[in-house]
């Protein structure tokens, strides 16, 4: 349902009211009287956090940390104001370490008494877990931090009238459906703002305000009112941005370009799969998913050591301590870096969920495995194995809210582009015979080793041109051979950044990160008929 101009005028006032909705929430400080929730930097929030640390210390914790998060989510599903969902929650989680065992307790109540209860509860859990069996946790040292950081967004989506957002989405829809051969598929977006206070027993205290914005926009090419092909706008994947994710991009131009692509796709003759191995050009989105699902997953140190075995699985890089610095994971042009500091990336923070300022680090350099993703505890494992204390956390600890205990999650990844000025189209133009792959959806096995990808947008290339679209194909690959068979990477200008998430742990939690990658050319990829049984 669209909003009429009349309704807009009539209810413009209320739209103004809606902007600030649904605040304010309350918290209890000091004497326990409910008060309106102040900004996260308020010293009273710190006093709450200190109360938890103090209680944990006196209960016998050797280390403790506490997080308080206030999260707001606003979702728009197909543009009508009637479909806006508003969610808001305040939670607190206390994590303690007693004799090498972790205990954690979390609840929705911000009050001094609850801080103490949670700390005691967490200590009890840690103590009981011990049961006479020794466990060592050497947290890698981390400098004490203090301060406040607010993710720099241009337009705070919660300061924008929902009417404006609905109108904007509606205008994009009208832009598409005014052509009789185009229809609109899903058109939704969501915004998250989270304020978080973190304190630990080593004296660190920091507060942060972070944002996440994302959209899903699909167009449908129609013939006789039946959808024959669809196009997904890949410019709206999760980002550490505000409403400028929509406003600062030339979306209409991008939609026109997408329409051209979908039309070109549909005009190509369909062709069944020729099962076999072919040289392949992959677009940036495909390569970003490939690197994320293989080396991105496999270089999580807790996963490689078996801590995730009962959930997502382990890693094909199964001997991390001996592989670092020696193991060849790919061709010499493969260099993979990680950070949590890129402006606009969805994994970006100032401090991670252990109060560590994340550094930029190199996971793979010139095809050689250099490092694993770490937290303070897992950096300690590296130190233990090497008998020194040189490793520090790369700042990869993360939890969606204070209700979850932090786990190691994937940081932003950057696959270094190639030296030549190559892009997807020029790579196709330079190919005599092979396939071109766009937007591959990938299923990886539980070690990040064997993958199966599927996509509608898979093309046969002859003499530098797309000559057919291949229908019903699956792309089979094995991570080591895939990256050793990397022939060329696109140039700097062809790199694209995409936001994504990974689910990890038990209870399962989601971590968001961005992956930047250029298109790539591979010596050969295996094509199968994905629906063919044995």
């Amino acid at each position: 349902m669209s909003i009429s101009r009349r309704t807009l005028l009539k209810y413009g006032m209320q739209a103004g009211l809606l902007m600030a909705m649904p605040r304010p929430l309350l918290a209890q400080f000091g004497d326990g009287t409910p008060e309106a929730l102040p900004p996260i930097q308020d010293p009273r929030v710190r006093a709450l956090a200190e109360r938890a640390l103090e209680a944990a210390r006196s209960a016998g914790a050797s280390y403790s940390d506490v997080r308080l998060t206030h999260t707001r989510i606003r979702e728009f599903h197909n543009p009508t104001v009637t479909s806006i969902a508003d969610l808001e929650d305040m939670v607190v989680g206390v994590r303690v370490l007693v004799d090498g065992y972790w205990g954690f307790a979390a609840s929705p109540v911000w009050s001094p008494d609850e801080m103490a209860r949670l700390a005691n509860e967490a200590v009890l859990h840690a103590r009981i877990s011990k049961q006479g069996t020794p466990r060592e946790v050497d947290l890698a040292s981390a400098p004490q931090v203090t301060g406040h950081w607010s993710m720099p967004v241009k337009i705070d989506p919660f300061e924008v009238s929902p009417f404006e957002i609905v109108d904007y989405l509606q205008s994009l829809r009208n832009f598409v459906i005014r052509w009789s051969d185009w229809g609109q598929g899903p058109n939704s977006c969501s915004f998250v703002v989270q304020e978080k206070a973190f304190a630990n027993s080593e004296g660190s205290y920091c507060t942060q305000r972070t944002y996440r914005s994302e959209g899903n926009f699909v167009i449908q090419l129609q013939e006789k009112r039946r959808t024959v092909a669809t196009g997904w706008l890949d410019a709206l994947t999760p980002a550490g941005m505000g409403w400028e994710l929509y406003k600062d991009q030339p979306l209409r131009e991008l939609i026109l370009k997408l329409m051209e692509e979908v039309k070109e796709h549909w005009k190509l003759p369909p062709k069944p799969v020729d099962v076999g191995r072919f040289p392949a050009v992959c677009d940036a989105l495909t390569v970003s998913r490939m690197i994320d699902m293989t080396l991105g997953r496999a270089t999580e140190l807790d996963r490689a050591l078996g801590y995730e075995a009962n959930e997502g699985g382990t890693s094909y890089l199964n001997d991390p301590f001996n592989m670092i610095g020696k193991h060849e994971v790919g061709a010499s042009q493969l260099t993979l870096r990680a950070n949590r500091s890129e402006p606009g990336a969805v994994g970006t923070v100032q401090w991670d969920d252990e109060g560590v300022r994340p550094d930029e680090f190199t996971i793979v350099e010139n095809g050689i495995l250099r490092d694993f993703q770490t937290t303070r505890e897992s950096a300690g494992w590296l130190n233990h194995a090497r008998g020194n204390s040189l490793a520090h956390s790369h700042g990869c600890a993360h939890a969606p809210t204070a209700l979850d205990a932090p786990l190691q999650h994937t940081p932003n990844l950057i696959l270094e582009p190639g030296a030549e000025d190559l892009d997807f189209d020029s790579a196709i133009a330079g190919m005599e015979s092979g396939v071109a792959i766009r937007g591959l959806n990938i299923d990886m096995d539980f070690q990040g080793l064997n993958g199966l990808g599927t996509t509608d947008r898979l093309y046969e290339i002859k003499n530098g041109k797309k000559v057919a679209r291949i229908v019903g194909a699956g792309v089979l690959f094995r991570a080591p051979e895939l990256w050793k068979g990397l022939r060329a990477l696109g140039g700097r200008n062809s790199s694209r950044r995409y936001g994504t998430f990974a689910v990890k742990g038990a209870p399962a939690q989601r971590g968001y990160h961005s992956v930047t990658a250029p298109p790539a050319v591979f010596d050969q990829l295996t094509l199968i008929d994905v629906k063919r049984k044995a």
């Binding site: 009637t82 929650d89 989680g93 063919r532």
Partner: protein, 480 residues
């Protein structure tokens, strides 16, 4: 001190007070519904033979639905329960409702609503689950870790006990409920859920074994036995050899059957007769003479030894019922014949006229047979024994063709005996094919089904082991 706080969940009285308080803030006519849920989870996770996190978490969620006359539906969710927060949230929901209001349309024509009696027979609460102490959780984990550690193996696992409560309340004018607000009060309901699973691997990563079980009742889960099974499977699966993909006779352990059935079971929730939209395996085709879509209801769709049903009073199953649901057993597939499909409800109120809703199976029991897995192996000349499947993805909604991986234990059977562990496979197969190629069935047992989300309700399943002909494995997967 046991670490079990008796006041972890909202009580019936607290829910009632809370719901009435919110309703009192909703003034000026219109419709209001409030849902209060609370949940608590006690969790224990371990890796490399040591507990690496023991935790206790709880949260509350209050959803306010508000619609003024002529307005649309405004929804706000919060977890703060003080007067000011609730007043503000109620007002916010009302403002959203007002945003889309059109003058003069009123509520429209509303149908007569059938009355439903709340269903109270279900077995979904267990004190053993809710009162499981932190010590008992740790001891359970220990009973699974110790045998593995003794053998020099690495145990990882997770156990969780949870409790949740829910209640909804609306305003005094049921006659005004229509469309998306056509709800029925959910009386105060509480449920528990417990689950436990463990993976044992050898130090070099050449073998991996898994076992898991879930139930609303912690007492139904024998953790030591789970640890034992995962350990045995780990030892027996070490150093697997590669064999050729292809069609094999398979003996699917109950967990593997349930994993593949997850592709089929949700399709039974589809509206009947299926019209346009999503592909359905239960659509027969368009009947030109009658001008409507025909479904496969009444037709034989799988092996006649298969019956898929649920009974909300079955103490071994334990499913959470909503007030409008048929308060008795439902057979979805009976002796191989498709007998029921789920309805969409909000759009069907007029047609229903006092009939109950069929939501589709949220939990189910599948009929079994009397052949033990050992007998299945003994009668197999050449085949594979499958522990479980992982990473399943639907490829075709009409045939339910899916692909996925075997995981944590796959063995070659030759001449009636397990001859060696083999490397994992990717399969490309449909559960419909599986249920039409059955050789033998074993006794139906409960399997591992994690609940959905935080505080979410369980989706239990009771399924048999199956021996199935010509199961299709399409490629080798050398991950362990």
């Amino acid at each position: 001190m046991s670490g079990v706080d008796p006041e972890r969940l909202l009580t019936a009285a607290q829910c009632d007070e809370l719901l009435r308080r919110v309703l009192s803030f909703a003034r000026g006519g219109g419709q209001t519904m409030v849902r209060a849920t609370s949940w608590w989870q006690g969790e224990l996770r371990w890796g490399r033979n040591r507990v690496n996190l023991s935790s206790d978490r709880r949260d509350i969620s209050l959803t306010i639905y508000r619609r003024i006359a002529n307005g649309s539906l405004g929804i706000v969710v919060t977890n703060q329960l003080d007067d000011a927060s609730l007043q503000f949230a109620t007002a916010a929901a009302e403002r959203k409702s007002r945003l889309d209001a059109e003058a003069g349309l009123g509520y429209g024509h509303f149908p007569k609503l059938p009355e439903y009696k709340p269903y109270t027979e279900g077995k979904i609460w267990s004190d053993a689950t809710y009162d499981l102490t932190v010590e008992e959780r740790a001891a359970a984990a220990r009973s699974m870790i110790a045998p593995a550690e003794k053998k020099g193996l690495l145990s990882a696992g997770y156990l969780e006990v949870r409790g949740a409560t829910m209640a909804t309340l609306g305003d005094d004018f049921p006659e005004l409920r229509s469309g998306p607000l056509a709800y029925w009060h959910m009386p105060f309901t509480r449920w528990t859920h417990a689950y436990c699973s463990t993976t044992v691997r050898d130090a070099t990563g050449s073998g991996s074994g898994w076992a898991g079980l879930s139930s609303y009742d912690w007492n139904a889960i024998e953790t030591a036995a789970l640890g034992e099974r995962a350990l045995e499977k780990c030892l027996a699966s070490r150093n697997p050899v590669a064999i050729e993909p292809g069609r094999y006779t398979v003996i699917l352990e109950p967990q593997a059957v349930a994993d593949l059935m997850e592709v089929l079971v949700p399709s039974l929730q589809q509206r009947e007769p299926p019209e346009g939209g999503n592909p359905s395996p239960w659509r027969l085709g368009f009947d030109d003479a009658l001008g409507l879509w025909r479904s496969k209801l009444g037709l034989k769709v799988v092996d006649e030894r298969i019956t898929i049903e649920h009974d909300p009073s079955d103490p071994r199953l334990g499913i959470l019922m909503s007030p409008t649901e048929l308060p008795g057993p439902v057979k979805w597939i009976e002796n191989g014949v498709l007998t029921n499909l789920g309805h969409f409800f909000s759009t069907d109120i007029v047609k229903l006229e006092g009939r109950y809703r069929l939501r589709g199976p949220t939990g189910y029991r599948m009929s079994g047979g009397t052949t033990s897995i050992d007998e299945m192996i003994a009668t197999t000349r050449r085949g594979l024994l499958v522990t479980r499947f992982s990473n399943i993805r639907l490829l075709d909604g009409e045939s339910l063709l899916a692909t996925g991986l075997t995981r944590d234990g796959l063995w070659l059977i030759e001449n009636g005996k397990i001859s060696k562990p083999v490397k994992n496979f990717r399969f490309t197969e449909s559960p419909l094919f599986m249920l039409n190629s059955i050789d033998q069935l074993g006794e139906s047992v409960r399997v591992f089904r994690p609940a959905r989300g935080r505080g979410g309700s369980p989706t239990p399943a009771i399924v048999p082991p199956l021996k199935v002909r010509d199961f299709s494995f399409t490629s080798l997967v050398d991950a362990v």
